[in-house]
Amino acid sequence: MITEVLWWIVAAGVVGASAGVVLSRSVVHAAIFLILSLAGVGAIYLFLTVEFIALVQFLIYGGAVTVLILLALMLTRMGASGRPEPLTGAQAPFGALVAAALMATLIGVAVATAWPGDLGGSPTAISIERIGAALFQNYGAPFIIMAALLLVAFVGAIVIARQEDGD
């Protein structure tokens, strides 16, 4: 019972923070809302009893990615005119229409489908040992490819963002 109440509180917080990300009029406020939203999703992972993913979420999303985004915001804050540019374009109403249609479809499918194997019970705890076995045995090759992808992406990021002489 207390778990359900807590779940609804966290879920409402996640939805509110996410709405803040897309509706906020200040880029810095949007970034702060993003941290809240990502941490909230990490808390939702705890309800699913996958502590490993929750920890990764807090570390990588709540820490590294948001710091990166905040730094980029600081570097690209002002336009050429020296004053902040409008953050939302004239296409926003159409975007809202598309997003609302998509949300209605997804929720309809999620609620109406009888998911195979769903016993309606609470989630089964997945131990870190089992995640490690899956990651390094069943999915070892994709894991190595993923490591190579990360390395290539960050070397590429350095090359792209580097200040060239005479540029």
């Binding site: 939805v15 990502l38 996958v50 050429a80 953050l87 989630p123």
Partner: protein, 102 residues
């Protein structure tokens, strides 16, 4: 206990909010943040399915780890491009980056 549908509906709401942000925002960094919301919704879906339907093989968990890794690579690369764009154009507005060459 919280049923599977709750997680799916929460994930659908997050994904739709992300779609709205991507479609309506003009600042490239804000578009990226909305993409992060969408990726999060997807990996929440994966983990919810894994914990409820497939706890023996943990495939959805591995997918979530991969989504997080790809999202980190994507955000690093994309922010480098945004910084480069800002240096060349003094603006992070995606509407102004309509040409690949100038």
């Amino acid at each position: 206990m919280v049923p599977l549908e709750n997680y799916l509906v929460l994930s659908a709401i997050l994904f739709a909010l992300g779609v709205y942000g991507v479609l309506s925002r003009r600042n490239a960094v804000l578009v990226l943040m909305s993409v992060e919301l969408m990726l999060n919704a997807v990996s929440l879906n994966f983990v919810a399915f894994a914990a409820h339907l497939d706890p023996d093989r943990a495939t959805g968990i591995v997918f979530a780890v991969f989504v997080i890794a790809v999202a980190a690579a994507e955000v690093g690369l994309a922010l480098a491009i945004v910084i480069r764009l800002f240096r060349n154009r003094s603006s992070a507005n995606v509407d102004e980056a309509a040409t690949l060459r100038w």
